[in-house]
Amino acid sequence: MENTYAIQMKHVTKRFGKVVANDDVSLDIKRGEILSLLGENGSGKTTLMNMLAGIYFPDEGEILVGGNPVTIASPKDAFDCGIGMIHQHFKLVDIFTAAENIVLGLEEPGKLDLKAAAARITEICQKYGFVIDPNKKVYNMSVSEKQTVEIVKVLYRGADILILDEPTAVLTPQETDRLFDVMRNMKADGKAMVIITHKLNEVMDVSDRVAVLRKGRYIGDVATRDTNPQKLTDMMVGHAVTLNIDRPLVEPRHLRLEVQDLTVLTPDGVKALDHVSFQAFGGEILGIAGISGSGQKELLESIAGLRATEPGSHVIYHPPAPDEPIAGQHVPVDRSGEELLGKTPRQIHSIGVSMAFVPEDRLGMGLVGSMGMTDNMMLKTYRAGKGPLLDRKSPRALAEQVKAELDVLTPSLNTPVRRLSGGNVQKVLVGREIAQNPSVLMTAYAVRGLDINTSYTIYNLLTAEKCKGVAVLYVGEDLDVLLELCDRILVLCGGQVSGVVDARTTTKEEVGLLMTRFRKEAAQA
């Protein structure tokens, strides 16, 4: 009997502790089709697919491959069913070559013959249009090359069902196009493919059918040609998202932070920041735009006291006026302006300058992965209180408050934060910084990797801080958000300020031009 279904998942449920990651999900995957699995962060997309890849085992429900019920208890079982998954975090051994990684774990008869393997890899690459050197070590590879190795790895094992977990998150637009071409080639070859994503344009671009998950539940599927991004968004979030970010104008605004001629060198002696000067006011969100690596990180770290600066640099802090609601929360300083440079990070923090930096791996800076929410809250407050014993009550209350206000999904306050999904980790981080009642709040990439709803929660939190009279510095990647959220935008380019614009009147084109201004001038010169 000809069975067009590659995989059928029936009534699958998976729980982690008390959190239900997938609740009674039934999903079909067809041959010769690219299926998009769409959903917000933490909606259970990756968990669902991990059950097909043998990483997790479902608590309830059954899985049929080619019409036959199967038990997938390990990644090996998945291979035997012809299922190959390309994980978001690559599973490659760094010190092995591409060929060694690809043949890893295979049980073929005969001795290990890497030359024959390399020949077969080249053959696969030619068939689908990849480019890869089988003898290159993985630690010398770019992200895109590593991803290619992952895909060739599953093809080499003869997989005809491929699952790609957010494959484009790490790729440039050109690399993404190349990947999509390869996927179309594989589809033409009769393979079934699942692409996990939350980028709607990619869904529309590459897939034939879209299945939507929301909070672990299966919402439904539609053919891509019968839908549009607006409809998909509605399915994904459950209710229409207001696309306008609320941006009240706060009057009056007081000068809070004055940065003058801030110059910072990298360890190699290159200027990471070159005479950067600007002013930040209480009651406004100052956006900081720029191509990644233009000095954003160095700027925030210098203000927070984490980085050595060159002589002649100044960061002057002006405390809130006594009649402002946020006044009197912090260590009193010189009313005519206090120099922050030369102070320790702890001193600067006690003055009221907070930083919430969300690095690429989310946990690297600010939170301790193996500690629970309460203990992470305590990282900022453990010095408070009298006597040698820790005060655990107030951080616990704070954790409760952050959990309730920001809707953090966690089995308990003591669950290690690294077990939470990425979005929830970020909520904990940003929530804690806001709870310090700062007078200057610096955030970098606060919404990195977050879905639309959670992003809005964070935007609203920042705006609420602004209305209290806090000076907010928002380093962002998405220009559309910067234009809608901020009052003014400072554009950095190659460590220099290439312009400060009014976010209410500027255009995306203008900011984009400023971001690349110095490069173009250099090219012309």
Partner: protein
């Protein structure tokens, strides 16, 4: 002077063989990501069980056969050491106990067990220092007269018991296994990145268990060689095995986790340890200073490797970490 030099080289090779076994076994273990600091304890276990097995065999047989002597002591030593490895594996792999603590505990345990039974054997044999397994020891130290009588090359290359050559063979075979076989590739992947190995369908747990137990068995051979050949079938509760065990752990680093490097590395350690033999007029305290040389060399190698930053010379990436599939 020539005689002195030859004696020094012979001592270096005998000394080196003890730690070479320890190091080769530990290299196999560490390639699976298990940092077993119980090497000294495992060498103790190997030494005492080999000795005990041959003692009871010789005790009950007036005319012991050399082959049986070799077999019982060899098998007993390997089995006891592998059991030590199994204990370590169960604690660290299945129960995910801390590897450092478990290894150090195993060292203390092995030393205690071995010295307890060593003392008992001495008592049974008639008093302190009385135990002797002459027949077994002779079998271990047997040489081929046609070769060992060849003058200078005979003295230098053929004057040792079979275990000296076996160590070299094991080192070469292990190198070949790790770098040119499918199982070797899989095992290295387990030590580098168990999550990746798991996703590739490799049984991480089985690989770790096997590598750790067989590795411990090989390490235990160092203790067997020490009791049977190096101190000629006796038992001394002076803690020498433990210090040799630590030297074996140092040798693993010195060899940058490559078993063929452990061959010349172990002889070099032996040479440095015994170098005082050819330096005239040394006092007792000077000798002790010279015995520190192998450790100094290891520190120098660590500094050198860290400076060069070549990825291939680094320890297995997940060394010392336990693996749990559903952990993120």
């Amino acid at each position: 002077m020539m005689d002195q030099l030859i004696r020094l080289l012979q001592s270096s090779i005998c000394f080196g063989t003890v730690i070479m076994y320890g190091a080769i076994g530990e290299i196999l273990t560490e390639k699976s990501g298990n940092l077993n600091l119980g090497v000294p304890g495992i060498m103790y276990l190997g030494g005492i069980s080999g000795l005990a097995a041959s003692f009871f065999y010789e005790f009950n047989n007036p005319n012991p056969s050399a082959i049986v002597c070799l077999l019982v002591s060899f098998l007993a030593a390997f089995a006891a050491s592998a059991l030590g490895g199994l204990l370590y594996s169960f604690l660290t792999i299945t129960l995910r106990a801390n590897q450092n603590v478990t290894g150090l505990t195993l060292t203390i345990f092995g030393g205690g067990v071995a010295n307890f039974f060593g003392g008992s054997l001495n008592t049974m044999a008639g008093g302190v220092g009385q135990i002797s397994v002459a027949a077994t020891s002779a079998a271990y130290r047997a040489t081929i007269p046609a070769l060992s009588g060849l003058g200078l090359p005979g003295k230098l290359f053929f004057s040792y018991g079979f275990m000296v050559y076996l160590a070299i063979v094991v080192a070469v075979v292990l190198h070949w296994f790790l770098n040119h076989t499918r199982q070797g590739l899989n095992l290295r992947a387990v030590g580098e990145n168990p999550a990746t190995a798991d996703a590739a369908g490799i049984n991480v747990i089985r690989n770790k268990y096997l590598a750790t137990c067989i590795g411990a068995g090989i390490s235990g051979m160092g203790g067997l060689y020490y009791t049977m050949d190096y101190i000629k079938g006796t038992w001394a509760s002076d803690g020498t095995i433990e210090s040799l065990g630590w030297l074996a752990v140092a040798l693993v680093i010195f060899a940058t986790w490559r078993s063929v490097n452990a061959i010349w590395g172990s002889y070099l350690f032996g040479f440095l340890f015994w170098a005082y033999l050819i330096i005239p007029n040394l006092g007792r305290k000077d000798i002790e200073l010279f015995k520190m040389l192998p450790y100094l060399v290891t520190i120098a190698v660590l500094i050198f490797i860290s400076l060069r930053k070549k990825r291939e010379n680094h320890p297995p990436a997940s060394l010392g970490l336990s693996y749990f599939r559903e952990e993120r």
